[in-house]
Structures are given as C-alpha cells and as structure tokens.
C-alpha cells in the first residue's frame, strides 16, 4: 500500500477520526482550524504511530513540527528514511 494511503488509514484508526481516507488531502494541514483539526495529543500519538509502523523516530520536537504538517510531509520523511 502506498505510504500516503497507509498513513491516512492509520491516522483514522489510531486517532479515532470519524472520516474516510479520501477526505484527507495529501496537503491538508493536520493541525488548526483550516485543516483536520488535530491537537497536541494527536501529535503525540502520530509520533508513536510513525515510529511503531514505519520505524521512523523523530529526533526532537523541531523535527516533529517540520514533519507533522501534512500527510505529504510525513510520507516524504518516511519514504526518505526507507530509501536511505
């Protein structure tokens, strides 16, 4: 399964989002009212989820902030790590 699709499905199940995968745009902001509206608890869960399912461990909060912008930014980081 492509990384972006897998990310969306994991987000829906693990963050208990009441939406379908195709409702999450690749570039939709994850946080804030203009986007999906995730909060800081979701961010923590995303960090754990990405480490658990993709083996990608965030180095620090700054990196997490950069990566946890959208499905695209997460997928790029995860795929880059997989290719390395």
């Amino acid at each position: 399964m492509p990384t972006r699709q897998r990310l969306k499905e994991l987000m829906i199940s693990e963050l208990m989002l009441d939406m379908a995968a195709d409702e999450i745009g690749d570039d939709t902001p994850l946080f804030g009212p203009a986007g999906i509206g995730l909060d800081s608890v979701d961010a923590l869960q995303l960090v754990v989820m990405i480490e658990k399912h993709f083996g990608f461990k965030m180095a620090d909060q700054d990196q997490a902030k950069r990566i946890l912008q959208s499905v695209n930014t997460i997928a790029e980081a995860v795929d880059q790590k997989a290719a390395a």
């Binding site: 963050l15 208990m16 923590l44 869960q45 754990v48 658990k52």
Partner: protein
C-alpha cells in the same frame, strides 16, 4: 482465595480472566507502602471470601504476571510474592527516581513483555501542623506521594501508547478531599494525585489508556500503630458504618478499575470511605 493488592487469585493461583487482556505485567509500586498489600499480610483473616475469580487459562497460553516494586520492607513483599511463584515477583524500585523506574520497566518488559497495568500504591504520611512542619517533611511527602506518581506514569506511558492499551490506578486518599489538620503535605500531595489523574486521563483517553484514582478512607491494619484501642473505638463510633474498610474492599475497586470492564471510566476519583464524606 487470596488478594494481592488490587489483584485476586483463587486457590489455583489464577488471575481473573478479565486481566488476561493485558499480556504481561502489573507493576505495583510498594516502596513505603502502608496500604493494601501489607494490610493483607498483616490480616490474613481479612482475605476476600466473596469474590469469584476462579478460572483457568488452559486456552490462554499468556497469563498476567505481577511485579511488586519494592525499596524497603522487602521481606513482607517477598513473603507475599512467594505464595505465587509463577505469577508474582519483586522488583527493586525507588519510586522517587525516574532512572529507577526506567530500569524496573526494562526488566519487567524483558521478563514478561509490555506492561498492562500500573497501580501507584506507594505512599506514606508524616504529619505535623504547618506552623511546625520542617521543609524536609513537606518535600519527602510530596516526593513519595505525588512526584513518584508522575515518575511512574511517565515511565509506563510510552509502552502503553505503543500497545494502545493500559490501565493506571493511582491510590490517592480521602485526605485529598477531607484535608485534616496536620496533613497539609499529605493532603496537598493526594489532591495533586487527583489532578494529575484527571489531566492525564484526558491526554491518554484516545490511546486506550485509562487513568483513575481511588480514595480510601480508614483501612483496617493501615492506621497509625500508636493509636490506642480507645481511640480506634471512638473513631469507629463516628463513622457511618462504624467500621473500617477491609483491605479487600479497596482491592476490589482497584481490580475493577484495572480490568477491561472499566473501559469507559477514566479520570474518575472513587472514594471508598464507608460514607464518611
């Protein structure tokens, strides 16, 4: 039937099947403990007789293991764990040390896999009027009763978050809400535990982790040893039930909150005081 803190074993030393959902370990922080486990040891006549936790795990290869985190009074905890050699073990734990928690958790996970339940049971009080309270008295009580709960929760959360399930039961006290004179330190610490519990419950609710607090009142075997029989008698007369709690009555609530049956209860503070407040 025997009770091991919040956990009950039947004659075959089996755990309640409800707890089998947690594959491995239950950590009971016991350093300084003056509560259920020691009371159970001190009063074997009070072991529960009305619970039915009898089951077998013939179809369930995985079973719970219980780890008692102990700093001192090891002999009593060892005596208890020794009754259940397949299920219970001691683990060295200085609850006020984050490093000690990490070490203990690593050892537990190596022996038994991911931790399912944490019961923050440790606690002690060192009473004095605030006007006379030494800084050390304040700090020691806050460290053991509140900071240790923070350290324990912080230590177990990453594993519970990975597993997306977990139960944390924090033993607070009726003193958190009754705030008797002479317990500014203990009351503040135990009230802090309630606040921590409620806040952490919100942070972890979506992760399949519940966090609850239990507020015991007077418990048989857990009262100051220098209280005279006359004092105890007079105290009982003031209680709505005119008796103290049996340790098993506290353990039953802890056990319930640790079980999957309590899956929609989080952030709760359950007082078990026989109607005092």
């Amino acid at each position: 039937m025997r009770a091991l803190d919040g956990l009950a074993f039947d004659g075959q030393m089996e755990l309640h099947p409800a707890l089998n959902i947690f594959r491995a370990a239950i950590l009971v922080a016991l350093a300084h403990a003056k509560r259920v486990i020691q009371q159970t040891l001190a009063h074997p006549e009070l072991l529960p007789s009305s619970f039915s936790f009898c089951t077998n795990f013939s179809d369930e290869p995985e079973t719970c293991r219980v780890f008692l985190g102990v700093r001192e009074r090891r002999e009593r905890a060892q005596e208890l764990a020794g009754r259940f050699p397949e299920r219970a073990a001691l683990i060295t734990l200085e609850i006020t040390s984050p490093e000690a928690w990490k070490t203990a958790l690593a050892e537990i996970e190596a022996q038994a896999g991911p931790l399912g339940v944490l019961i923050n049971n440790a606690g002690f009080h060192e009473d004095a009027l605030l006007a006379n309270m030494a800084q050390d008295q304040w700090s020691r009580v806050l460290d053991a009763n509140l900071n240790a709960v923070f350290h324990g929760c912080q230590a177990v959360l990453p594993g519970m978050m990975r597993e997306r399930k977990g139960r944390i039961v924090n033993i607070s006290s009726l003193s958190a809400i009754s705030s008797p004179a002479g317990q500014t330190n203990y009351s503040a610490a135990k009230a802090g535990v309630i606040g921590l519990t409620q806040s952490l419950a919100k942070e972890s609710a979506r992760m399949g982790i519940t966090v609850n607090a239990v507020l015991p009142g007077y418990i048989e075997g857990g009262l100051p040893t220098d209280w005279t029989p006359e004092h105890l008698k007079a105290l009982k007369m003031q209680l709505p039930m005119r008796r103290f709690a049996k340790p098993a009555e506290i353990a039953a609530a802890v056990f319930f909150l640790a079980s999957p049956d309590a899956s929609y209860i989080t952030g709760s503070s359950l007082k078990i005081d026989g109607g005092i407040l």
